[in-house]
């Protein structure tokens, strides 16, 4: 039988995939000149922009959500009962996630252009892998069956190992890549096991079908009603394993330990990618499986999610307090922020939980990317990229200093970083209304712990450097030339693209600060369908 494919619906990932192939070809056939690097970056950017344009067009067109790769009604089982079974759906949820991922991708590509300007990293491969990750990241929120979910998630993860390892001849990067690879493969295995259990019981891979089975509307075909009353206990095992698999991806406790090493080992754009795009994909998958597929089993997973959220934010914040390296600090802080994003999902009673999580995720993406972009800028001039390197940044480079200060204050959730404040208020409101007072209290304490390290870092930006003992290598102090770290090949080229990245992230963060309603409008109605 022939399936009708709606190419308009799948245009965003399709465009990215085509551009990925194009980039690889161009890299092979264009002459190896420095200009080629920029050209490839621009091609990538253009691809992301076109894909984003499709997403925006779909979002603006309105109407019912479009879907494709559906099971035709005549094959949908006896008398076509139950809900429609589609693999690829472009509803509000999908479009918001895809839009966020693509805007974040623009920032990451801009940061990459700075990173790649040095040479030393193969450009074509880099952009190819980056685009492949993006294909996965925007396919994942559209996936509505288990197989496609797993494939998309792997498509997000696999290129990231390679991207991490691309900083060749760097022991840390190789170690990080291996760590990420092992952790990811283990988590995939666990998740696949859970998925297979769920499939075995429900006899279907479509989330809509799973929802019907696990909420008891349709009899589970894999269960002999003569032997088992209702659903067997193995469902719980399946649910827990699937949750565990996603917990790896979003670096939730107890599967968080890889975060800092990997973030630090990878180059800064990859760390930003991991902390925003890869994490968003993980959350999209988690939300889809839990809220769409397993809503009937909420009694099983909601308490687990609540406890995991509490542990994640606490562990992330406590670990971040002791960090001296900027990237490691951001790594643990992003673990803590995962906890905040996870917290509303523990509230099953309230219908707005998903919207709240997404609102937080969107705001988090803007402020975290801003911070990473400034860290990227600083990483060009210093070797270790420790917090002490940021001392007095507000005087050396007021724009970068103020941008980083704003993003950190946002992450801490204090005015003038109103975006972060309101994001936390959304979550608190959800928790208080949903009756999870204990989680709200834990989150309150965590907000204070988090403030400690954000505030001390921010204060460092405004503390003058004590003498010239550790003068960060600005172009001027050639008199004290011996303090220049030898390993910075192109120390003083103004990385214009990074400034663009900072500007983009900052503008979005400021916009969200003064008009948080924009985020709410985007995410509030993103119930599925």
């Amino acid at each position: 039988m022939i399936q009708q494919i709606d190419y308009y619906v799948i245009a965003p990932p399709l465009v990215l995939a085509l551009v990925a192939a194009l980039v690889l070809l161009l890299d092979a056939f264009l002459p190896a000149r420095p200009g080629t690097r920029t050209a490839l970056g621009l091609v990538t950017l253009a691809g992301v922009a076109i894909s984003l344009a499709f997403v925006v067009a779909q979002a603006l067109s309105g109407g019912p959500p479009r879907s494709t790769f559906c099971v035709p009604p005549n094959l949908a089982g006896p008398a076509g009962q139950g809900p429609a079974m589609c693999s690829f759906v472009a509803d509000r949820f999908t479009l918001v996630f895809a839009g966020m991922v693509l805007v974040a991708a623009v920032v990451v590509v801009l940061m990459s252009m700075t990173q790649l300007a040095d040479g030393g990293i193969p450009v074509g491969e880099w952009y190819f892998l980056l685009l492949c990750t993006l294909v996965g990241a925007i396919t994942l929120p559209a996936s509505r069956d288990l197989v496609m979910l797993v494939v998309a998630l792997e498509l997000v993860s696999l290129p990231v190992f390679a991207l991490t390892a691309m900083k060749r001849y760097d022991g840390r990067a190789s170690e990080a890549a291996v760590k990420l690879f092992v952790v990811s493969v283990v988590s995939t295995a666990i998740m696949l096991f859970g998925v297979s259990l769920l499939y075995g019981i429900a006899g279907a891979i479509y989330l809509s079908r799973l929802a019907a089975v696990f909420s008891g509307q349709i009899e589970a075909p894999g269960v002999d009603p003569a032997l088992v009353q209702g659903l067997p206990a193995v469902v719980t095992v399946g649910v827990v394993l699937v949750v565990a698999g996603f917990a790896f991806k979003i670096a939730a406790v107890p599967f968080h330990s890889w975060a800092a090493d990997v973030y630090q080992g990878a180059s800064v754009p990859v760390a930003a990618l991991l902390s925003v795009i890869s994490k968003a994909a993980g959350f999209a998958g988690l939300i889809l499986v839990l809220v769409v597929g397993l809503s009937g089993q909420a009694a099983t997973w909601a308490p687990i999610i609540g406890i995991v959220a509490a542990l994640t934010m606490t562990a992330g914040n406590l670990l971040a307090m002791r960090q001296r390296s900027a990237v490691r600090l951001l790594a643990w802080s992003s673990v803590a922020q995962s906890g905040y994003i996870l917290a509303p999902l523990a509230i099953t009673a309230a219908s707005g939980a998903v919207g709240t999580s997404m609102a937080y995720l969107v705001i988090y993406a803007a402020m975290n990317l801003g911070a990473f972009a400034v860290v990227m800028l600083i990483s060009r001039t210093v070797t270790r990229n420790e917090l002490d390197d940021y001392r007095g940044l507000a005087f050396r480079s007021p724009a970068a200093g103020l941008a980083l200060a704003f993003c950190l204050v946002c992450l801490a959730g204090l005015p003038p970083g109103l975006a972060g404040l309101f994001a936390k208020v959304f979550v608190f409101r959800e928790l208080v209304v949903g009756g999870s007072g204990w989680l709200a209290l834990i989150m309150a304490v965590n907000t204070v712990i988090g403030l400690y390290y954000y505030a001390t870092w921010t204060a460092r930006l405004f503390t003058p450097t004590p003498g010239t003992s550790r003068a960060p290598t600005s172009p001027i102090p050639s008199a004290t030339g011996e303090s220049l770290p030898p390993a910075s090949p192109t120390p003083h080229r103004p990385p214009a693209t990074t400034w663009l990245a900072i500007g983009l992230a900052l503008v979005v963060a400021v916009l969200f600060s003064f008009a948080p309603q924009v985020v709410l409008d985007m995410t509030s109605l993103s119930a599925f369908g």
Binding site: V425, A444, A459, T463
Partner: protein, 556 residues
């Protein structure tokens, strides 16, 4: 009824002033001192206009209202307004900020202490942002908007302490911000409980509802949560430990604004939100609040007796004074609440003045350690000594000055607390509070006897940076010459050059300098208002009484 442009202007002027500073840093650099003064002066103008055009016949209802939706998804409205409770505080804030700029503008011509000379642009910026937060808190009529403004002050204050503070500024700043944030996050939870139960964030509507629609247990829970947040800021006794450090390490203007305005944000929250919105919760928790309040009064006084550092002593005295304010609220009577609100404003004026004075003394002597100051201030610098005496006496509650009425009314309220509150308990509180007032008098008199009275002499003349310690002082009015030999012995090895070069051209000993013109300018309004409110308390009480009756409508 007048439009809402006045509150908007009050917020917009300092905000635009700060933004302009950020956008055009170089153009403003030469006129920075004047710039801050002018902006805060322009911000003072709408406050004065507010006081003048306020309809005193309807002091109970909010006037000059602005009500615009901001975040519909959160139910958050940009709702501002002024009533009899907030009007004095708004005016006080604008005034104190302006006076701080007056103090900064002409001060610091000597090279003592890197303050206005150290990053003046950032300082002006910080103070202006601080002003936005402070005024906004008093204007907000929406729970979340109140919270947002409540939080805005944190970051500027953190930097004010952390950058321009004293020796232990880092620790003090971190302690301040963590403590207050913990409080305000708990408060946020309380506010959200109210929101979840009552379904609105509008303070006017919530006040009018008097807690209907919320069960007693929910009210108690919400009151405790909101109360903790406000109590940290106030600060109430067991939650006060951030305050002495913050006050001691903060620069003069920081201490003035911290004591004069920031603490009021906590007590104002009780009057504006906690008590009117949650009357049943207030009634249930009031005995506890009163207990903590009187412990704070006595504790603050005892701690003051033990202090050596002048600024630290004044900081602890704030704990005691805020105890009186809380005791007044805890009685839940119009008398007590009026007293609390009066004491609030009086404390802002008097303690603001005290911190100005402590700053001036510290600037002259490079220490606020009372034994090192060595007494005899009245003899050496008579005018400074007299103003200090005045402020101390006003603070200890001498009848006829502003400090008296608030404490008296708070104690009077405790004599006859609201129905339903245990009278015997509150009588005990009254007695203990009275004893605390006695102790307050004791420590202020001890302080005066140590600092202003006695024979002027230097017990430890430290070699001061920038001041040739060995030079003969030009004007030793009552200097005892037998103390002199210790000074050259201590510092002869360090500064021989400055001594031998030309002793006569050295700068005059700052310790001998009496009140300067800018100090006089900055302090006179505070002195005048202290006397005015002391002699004519009705001026303020007539403003708060109608509003208090509305907010206590359900309780009493």
């Amino acid at each position: 009824m007048m439009g809402g442009w006045l509150p908007i202007t009050l917020l917009a002027v300092p905000l635009l002033g700060a933004l302009l500073l950020l956008l055009a840093p170089h153009a403003l650099r030469p006129i920075l001192r004047t710039y801050g003064l002018v902006v805060s002066g322009i911000a003072l103008a709408p406050a004065v206009l507010l006081v003048v055009t306020f309809d005193y016949g309807r002091a109970a209802a909010p006037q000059f209202e602005v009500d615009v939706p901001w975040i519909p998804g959160l139910g958050l409205r940009f709702h501002l307004g002024v009533d009899g409770i907030s009007l004095p505080l708004v005016a006080l804030t604008a005034l104190l900020t302006f006076l701080c700029f007056v103090y900064l503008c002409w001060g610091r011509t000597r090279d003592s202490g890197p303050f206005m000379s150290d990053r003046p642009r950032a300082l002006v910026f910080t103070l202006l942002v601080l002003e936005v937060g402070m005024i906004g808190t008093f204007l907000a009529l929406d729970l979340l908007l109140f919270f947002v403004f409540f939080e805005i002050v944190l970051i500027p204050m953190y930097f004010l302490i952390g950058i321009w503070g004293g020796e232990g500024r880092r620790g003090a700043a971190v302690k301040f911000i963590l403590y207050t944030l913990l409080g305000s996050v708990v408060m946020l939870l309380g506010l959200l409980i109210v929101w979840a139960q009552a379904g609105t964030l509008d303070i006017e509507a919530l006040t009018a509802a008097h807690g209907s629609g919320m069960s007693r247990s929910v009210q108690i829970l919400a009151f405790v949560a909101i109360g903790i947040g406000l109590a940290v800021k106030t600060p109430m006794w067991p939650l006060h430990t951030w305050l002495p450090d913050a006050h001691t390490e903060a620069p003069t203007v920081g201490s003035v604004l911290l004591a004069g305005v920031l603490l009021k944000m906590g007590t104002y929250g009780f009057a504006r939100i906690a008590i009117p919105v949650l009357p049943e919760g207030a009634a249930a928790v009031a005995p506890w609040l009163g207990a903590f309040a009187v412990v704070g009064i006595v504790y603050g006084a005892l701690a003051c007796l033990a202090q050596r550092d002048l600024k630290r002593m004044i900081a602890y005295s704030s704990v005691g004074h805020m105890g009186f304010v809380l005791l007044g609220f805890a009685t839940l009577t119009p008398v007590g609440t009026n007293g609390a609100l009066f004491a609030n404003v009086a404390h802002g004026l008097i303690t603001g003045l005290l911190f100005f004075l402590a700053g001036a003394i510290k600037e002259r002597h490079h220490t606020a350690d009372m034994p090192s100051l060595g007494g005899g201030l009245l003899a050496r610098v008579p005018r400074l000594g007299s103003v200090l005496t005045f402020a101390a006496i006003a603070s200890l509650g001498l009848p006829g000055l502003a400090g008296f009425w608030g404490e008296m009314l708070a104690l009077l309220g405790a004599f006859q607390p609201a129905n339903g509150l245990p009278r015997g308990l509150f009588l005990t509180y009254m007695v203990i509070g009275g004893l605390g007032a006695l102790l307050t008098a004791a420590y202020f008199l001890v302080m005066l006897s140590r600092v202003t009275h006695g024979r002027p002499h230097d017990t430890t003349p430290q070699p001061l940076p920038g001041t040739p310690a060995g030079t003969p002082r030009p004007d030793p009015i009552h200097a005892t010459p037998d103390e002199r030999p210790t000074a050259p012995a201590a510092s002869s090895g360090r500064l021989p050059a400055t001594i031998t070069l030309d002793p006569s051209t050295g700068p005059p000993d700052p310790r001998q300098e009496d009140i300067t013109r800018h100090e006089l300018l900055a302090w006179t309004p505070l002195v005048v208002l202290t006397v005015l409110f002391g002699l004519w308390p009705g001026l303020l009480l007539s403003l708060t009484t109608p509003a208090v009756q509305v907010l206590l409508g359900a309780v009493s």
